[in-house]
């Protein structure tokens, strides 16, 4: 255990569960305490879970293409709840169709995500970055 807590979930009306389950396993194996909210998670549930568990970061997944709509105001919701500086990550298929990645990335960064990951990101691709961000030494 590395002492850091992550809240994990698939936002909105999205039910893609496979990646979520795999992520949970990979993050636990990497030493995190993982609070997995599963699929169909609302903004409110993310905020509440982050407060309750004193999370260090929230990892949002969105696979089904509606992230643009579902994530609007998410950063603001955290700010309102008094934990506006929590680290926010998002990954998956963030828009409908295959659009230029740089645009998509910029769009979600502007929405307040600290890091935005493209489709098919493997655990081994981002866990090192996550550890670095949270100041975990290997």
């Amino acid at each position: 255990m590395n002492g850091k807590t992550l809240v994990l979930g698939v936002i909105g009306s999205d039910v893609h569960a496979v990646g979520n389950k795999i992520l949970e396993i990979a993050l636990k194996e990497a030493g995190f305490r993982v609070v997995n909210l599963g699929v169909l998670v609302s903004q409110k549930e993310f905020v509440e879970a982050a407060i309750e568990t004193a999370a260090d970061a929230v990892l949002v997944s969105s696979l089904y293409g509606h992230a643009e709509i579902d994530c609007r105001g998410l950063r603001e919701a955290f700010i309102e709840a008094g934990i506006g500086d929590i680290r926010l990550y998002i990954g998956g298929y963030l828009v409908v169709g295959n659009q230029p990645w740089e645009e998509t990335k910029a769009k979600f960064e502007a929405m307040g995500f600290d890091r935005v990951y493209p489709p098919n990101t493997l655990p081994e691709d981002f866990i090192p970055e996550l550890k670095q961000d949270l100041g975990i030494e290997e």
Binding site: S13, V15, V18, H66
Partner: protein, 484 residues
């Protein structure tokens, strides 16, 4: 749950419920059953989905069908027209967006509005409820091939009312297959009951001489779902549908990747369904089959995706599935462009046509695989019936509760999630752990030995790493997730 039984709903008693359902969104007002039946009777037989399926079955050929749906009506129509002309799709879909699937019509409306504003679809499908009967009917009128609604909706009562009234002649889904993989908190009894409504509505149309095709969603979570699991769900939903008066049922299965297992799966589906229907005294349902090209994670490049797609086409043709649901070379990139969608259809059609006069030869391995699938499925179904005191509706709820039916990777809290599927040394999907699946000693030994064989070959102990490696394998260009 006391109220749940598989008995036919009383049409008169259902009218009150219908009125309530039709009031849940304003377009519900447009539904007029009498007028709808009349409209259906004016449609040429070539637009009837059930009929096309019946013909294909009789001729022993495999029809192609894409998935497709965008927010706006005109764009959706153009998309489907393109897939019919350029992609030579035999059957057309209308894939519904994810808000509608969760009955969130307001969000769907927002998405539809914005999509029109920005000129591209912000929804991942066509919000048919928001469009309403009249708009949907435009599709039916303007398109030549038969149309099916494809979605993933636990409570699709309003969606069915609207699309069937509009002239759609096929409706995918079922109380289990559109709940367990597509919802988290919806009690199974509720979705089964909601789908009995849909089936009863289809049964009503049948009573008026309008045959509408129903299709339980075969692939479930699309990821390492062994045939016995999806077959059990398909058979239960077929029986439940038939009991409400449905006359045309297409049984589905998602390609697993081992050719013999895939062929055996398609071959056993109607055999098992017929067997359990007969036990209920039902013999007047036309059963057809559908193979879905690999439903799990795809490779990210187009050429490799074409390989996966073609292999799925081959499995469909060699097993003589009545239709094949086609993936696209953009599967791992995002919702496909219309060109990519047509490309998937064309590659599939080439393979199917080249194999149309060939079938997978009868052989010992195939027979054994069929036997295994049938025995496993019967063990699950018989236990389910036992738990339900002879009733599949009740039995299904209790079976899921007990883990007697258990879908891997399902998001629903009503699914036990205690099995661990993994590929054997030839790539067939087996069980590393079967949780509470009511397998006999014989079947348990079979799975153990199959995975031990793989473990010996790979020189590692069988375990969860098999599952993870197998989830990624096809995306990485393999079938079996071998250690690297």
């Amino acid at each position: 749950m006391d109220y749940l039984s598989s008995e036919k709903l009383d049409w008169e008693q259902m009218q009150q419920e219908r009125q309530a359902v039709l009031r849940t969104w304003e377009t519900g007002r447009e539904v007029n059953l009498e007028e709808a039946v009349e409209f259906h009777s004016t449609l040429p037989p070539s637009k009837n989905f059930a009929r096309r399926m019946g013909e294909a079955k009789a001729r022993g050929i495999t029809l192609t069908q894409p998935r497709a749906g965008v927010a706006d009506l005109r764009s959706h129509l153009e998309l489907l027209q393109y897939l019919a002309s350029e992609g030579e799709a035999d059957l057309l879909p209308t894939t519904i967006d994810s808000y509608t699937r969760q009955n969130r019509y307001e969000e769907a409306e927002k998405g539809l509005d914005e999509s029109r504003k920005v000129g591209r679809s912000l929804l991942n499908g066509f919000p048919a409820v928001n469009h309403g009967v009249k708009s949907c009917r435009t599709l039916v009128k303007e398109l030549s091939p038969p149309l099916q609604v494809r979605h993933g909706t636990p409570d699709a009562r309003l969606l069915a009312e609207i699309t069937l009234a509009a002239g759609f002649t096929a409706f995918e889904g079922g109380g289990i297959s559109y709940n367990i993989p597509y919802a988290k908190q919806v009690p199974l009894a509720d979705s089964i009951r909601a789908w009995q409504y849909v089936d009863r509505l289809v049964g009503y149309y049948a009573e008026q001489g309008i045959i509408i095709n129903r299709e339980p969603f075969g692939p479930l979570t699309g990821t390492l779902v062994a045939p016995c699991i999806s077959h059990s769900v398909a058979v239960i939903e077929a029986v439940l549908a038939a009991k409400q008066g449905v006359k045309s049922i297409t049984l589905g299965y998602g390609q697993c990747g081992n050719l013999i297992q895939d062929v055996a799966a398609i071959q056993t589906l109607p055999v098992l369904a017929e067997e359990y229907l007969r036990r209920e005294g039902i013999t007047d349902v036309e059963l057809t089959t559908v193979l879905h090209q690999w439903m799990g994670g795809f490779p990210t490049d187009e050429p490799r995706s074409f390989g996966v797609i073609s292999l799925g086409g081959a499995a469909a043709a060699l097993s003589k599935a009545t239709k094949v649901i086609v993936k696209t070379p953009h599967e791992a990139l995002g919702i496909p462009t219309k060109e990519a969608n047509a490309a998937g259809l064309k590659a599939t059609k080439q393979v199917i046509n080249m194999l149309r006069d060939q079938s997978f030869p009868e052989c010992a391995q195939l027979a054994q695989e069929r036997e295994i699938i049938m025995q496993e499925t019967r063990e699950i179904l018989d236990k389910t019936l036992e738990l339900g005191d002879g009733d599949f509706a009740l039995g299904a709820v209790r079976a899921f509760q007990a883990g007697v039916i258990d879908v891997p990777f399902a998001p629903s809290v009503y699914n036990a999630g205690r099995t661990m599927p993994a590929r054997d040394n030839e790539g067939a999907v087996r069980f590393l752990a079967w949780g509470s699946l009511p397998f006999s000693k014989e079947i348990q030994e079979f799975h153990k030995e199959k995975l031990a064989e793989r473990a010996r070959f790979e020189e590692r102990t069988p375990g969860f790493q098999f599952v993870i490696d197998d989830v990624y394998a096809i995306g990485k260009g393999m079938l079996v997730g071998r250690p690297r």
